[in-house]
C-alpha cells in the first residue's frame, strides 16, 4: 500500500520571487495518520498544501498522493482528496444545500438537477442527515451568508467529506473560530476520522491541535526544521527540563545540594536540570524541608518556538 502522501525534495519558487517558498522539503504520511504541518506565517505551509492538492505546480521535486503524482495525475489525485482551505471557499449567495449539491455534482456523485426536490431520494436523505449533524436543521436551505463563522467551517468540512476522500487537507481550519466552535469542530473531525480511518493533513498555528497528531513537520523559510512524532520533537528539548525548589532554610538547602553534587542555579530559587535525572530521584536526596517544588517540562509549543527561533538565528 503506497503512503498517503509522499513528498521528495519538493521546491517551489514563485514567479518574480528571489527565494524558494518551499525549499527541498521531503516527508511521508502513512495511511490513517493525522499529520500536522507547523510553521510561522509565510513559512510555505499553504504553498505546500496548494501543490499537494494540485492547484499549484512545483518548480522541482516530486509529490504523490496514494502513489498518484500530483503534477501528472492531477485529476485522479483530486478524486482522492478533500480540502478545507485557509479562507472559506463557500458561495455565499447560495444556500448551504446548494453548496453541497454543487460539490456533489462536480464530484460526479449525482447528475445535475436544478432543484433539491428534483434530486434523487438518496441525496435528499443524505442532506437531511448532514443538516442534523451540523445542527442546521431547516436552515440548510438558507443562504450561507447568514451563517456564523463556525457554521460555515463545519459546512465546508461536511461538504469536503461528501465524496468520501481518502486524504483530507485542513489548511488552518480553526483560524478565526471561537474556542467553543474549535472544540466542537475537532470533536466532529475526530468522530469522522475514527469512523473511516481517513488520513488527515493539518496545517495550524494552534499547538494544542498538533499535539493530537501522529507526526509533525515544522517548516520555516520553506525548509524542514523538524520532523517526527510530537514526543520526539519535545525530547529534542529534554535538556531544558528542570526542577525548581526552595526552602525556608536556604543556607541549609544550598549546602545540601552542593554536598549531594547536584548542580543548580539560583534564580533566586534553586533551579536543577533534569537532563540526566528525574525529579523524584532528586527530591528523595534532599532532607531540608522544602517550601516549593515545581517541575518544568518543555511543551510542544516550547519545542516549536525553540526550533523556529534557532532556525531564524
Amino acid at each position: 500500500m503506497p503512503p498517503s502522501i509522499e513528498v521528495q525534495h519538493l521546491v517551489k519558487r514563485y514567479k518574480q520571487s528571489e527565494r524558494n517558498a518551499v525549499d527541498d522539503v521531503s516527508f511521508t504520511v502513512e495511511p490513517g495518520q493525522l499529520f500536522a504541518l507547523l510553521g510561522p506565517n509565510g513559512a510555505g505551509k499553504t504553498t505546500l498544501v496548494s501543490i499537494l492538492t494540485t492547484t499549484l505546480t512545483p518548480t522541482s521535486g516530486r509529490a504523490s498522493i496514494l502513489g498518484l503524482d500530483v503534477a501528472t495525475q492531477a485529476s485522479q489525485v483530486r478524486r482522492e482528496v478533500g480540502i478545507i482551505f485557509q479562507n472559506p471557499s463557500l458561495d455565499l449567495n447560495l444556500t448551504a444545500e446548494e453548496n453541497i449539491r454543487l460539490h456533489a455534482t462536480l464530484y460526479g456523485l449525482y447528475s445535475f438537477r436544478p432543484t433539491y426536490a428534483s434530486m434523487p431520494e438518496a441525496y435528499r436523505q443524505e442532506v437531511i442527515r448532514l443538516a442534523d449533524i451540523i445542527g442546521l436543521g431547516g436552515d440548510i436551505f438558507r443562504p450561507v451568508k447568514q451563517f456564523s463563522g463556525g457554521m460555515k467551517r463545519k459546512l465546508e468540512i461536511i461538504r469536503s467529506l461528501i465524496h468520501t476522500p481518502k486524504v483530507l487537507f485542513l489548511d488552518e481550519p480553526t483560524i478565526g473560530l471561537d474556542p467553543a466552535s474549535r472544540r466542537n469542530l475537532w470533536e466532529y473531525l475526530t468522530t469522522v476520522r475514527n469512523g473511516n480511518g481517513m488520513t488527515v493533513f493539518l496545517t495550524t498555528h494552534y499547538l494544542e491541535e498538533a499535539e493530537q497528531s501522529d507526526m509533525i513537520c515544522i517548516i520555516n523559510h520553506g525548509k524542514v526544521a523538524a520532523y517526527g512524532t510530537p514526543d520526539a520533537i519535545r525530547t529534542q528539548l529534554a535538556a531544558q527540563a528542570y526542577l525548581l525548589v526552595d526552602a525556608a532554610d536556604r543556607e541549609g538547602l544550598r549546602a545540601e545540594l552542593k554536598q549531594a553534587n547536584l548542580p543548580f542555579e539560583e534564580t533566586p530559587k534553586f533551579k536543577i536540570s533534569l537532563a540526566n535525572q528525574n525529579a523524584h530521584q532528586i527530591i528523595q536526596r534532599i532532607k531540608t524541608p522544602l517550601s516549593l517544588v515545581k517541575t518544568y517540562i518543555p511543551t510542544l509549543e516550547d519545542a516549536y518556538l525553540s526550533i523556529v527561533g534557532a532556525a531564524n538565528e
Binding site: 514563485y14 514567479k15 492538492t53 494540485t54 492547484t55 499549484l56 505546480t57 485529476s75 485522479q76 483530486r78 478524486r79 482528496v81 480540502i83 482551505f85 479562507n87 472559506p88 471557499s89 463557500l90 458561495d91 455565499l92 449567495n93 447560495l94 446548494e98 454543487l102 460539490h103 455534482t105 462536480l106 464530484y107 460526479g108 447528475s111 445535475f112 436544478p114
Partner: protein, 263 residues
Amino acid sequence: MSNLNTILTIAYRDLLKFMRDRPRIVASFIFPFVIILFLGESLDASIGQAMGYDFKLFVFTGVYTQTLFQSAMLGIISLLDDRDNDFSQEIFVSPVSRYAIIVGKILGESLVAMTQGIGLLAFGIVIALISDSDISISQGLSLIPVGFMACLLGGSFGMLILPKLSSRRVADQIFPFLILPQYFLAGVFTPFDNQPRFINALAVISPMRYAVDLTRGVFYQGTEDFSRIVLAKPLLNAVVMMGMFGLFLISGTLLFVREERNR
C-alpha cells in the same frame, strides 16, 4: 456525460446568482433601454431620414447584440471575484475538465445575458409597434439564436483576456479599452462605411463586429434594407464567430489554467 454535468452545474450557478441579485437585474436592463430610447431616437431624428431606413431599428439591432456580447464578456470577470472570494479554489480542485468548467461559465453568463436580451426584445417589439415598422414575428424571433451566439462569442472573448488580469480593479480599467472601440468598429450606433484603411483593418479583428453584422444579416434577410445595412453574408459571419469562439475558448482556458497553476 461528466462534462455535461459540469457544464450544467457551473452554468446554473451563474444563472441562480443572477436571479437573486435584484440590483444587477435592474441595472442590466436600464442601460440598453436608455441607449435605444434616447440615442436611437436622437440619431433617427438627425441622420435617420438621410439614411433611408428605420434608424431606430438599426440602433436597436446593434445595441441588442452589443449588450449581449458585453454582458457575457463582463460576466466572465466574475471568475476574478470567485478567485478573490476563494470560491474558485473549490471549483478548480474538483476532478473535472477545466474546459468543461470554462464552457459552463461561458454558458452560464450567456444565459444571464439572454435574460436581458429577452427583455430587450420585448422592448424592441414595443418600439416597432409605436413606430409602425413593418417587422414580422420571424424577424423578431430570429434575434434569439443570433443573440445567443453573440453571448458565446463575448464570453469566450472575455476568457481570452481574463488570464492576464490580476484583479477586478485591473479588469475594470482594461475592459473599457477593449469594449468602447468595438462599439464603433462594429457599427453599433452608426453605419460602418467609408472608413480609413487602418480602421477597416481594426474592424476585421473586432469580434463584436461579426456578432452585430450577423444579427443584422439575419434580421434584415430578405428585405430591401439588407444590402444597405449588412456588411457580409450571415454564413460568413457565423463561420468567423465559430472559429473565434473555438480559438478564444481553447487559448483562454490554456492560459488561465497555466496562470493559475504556474504562479
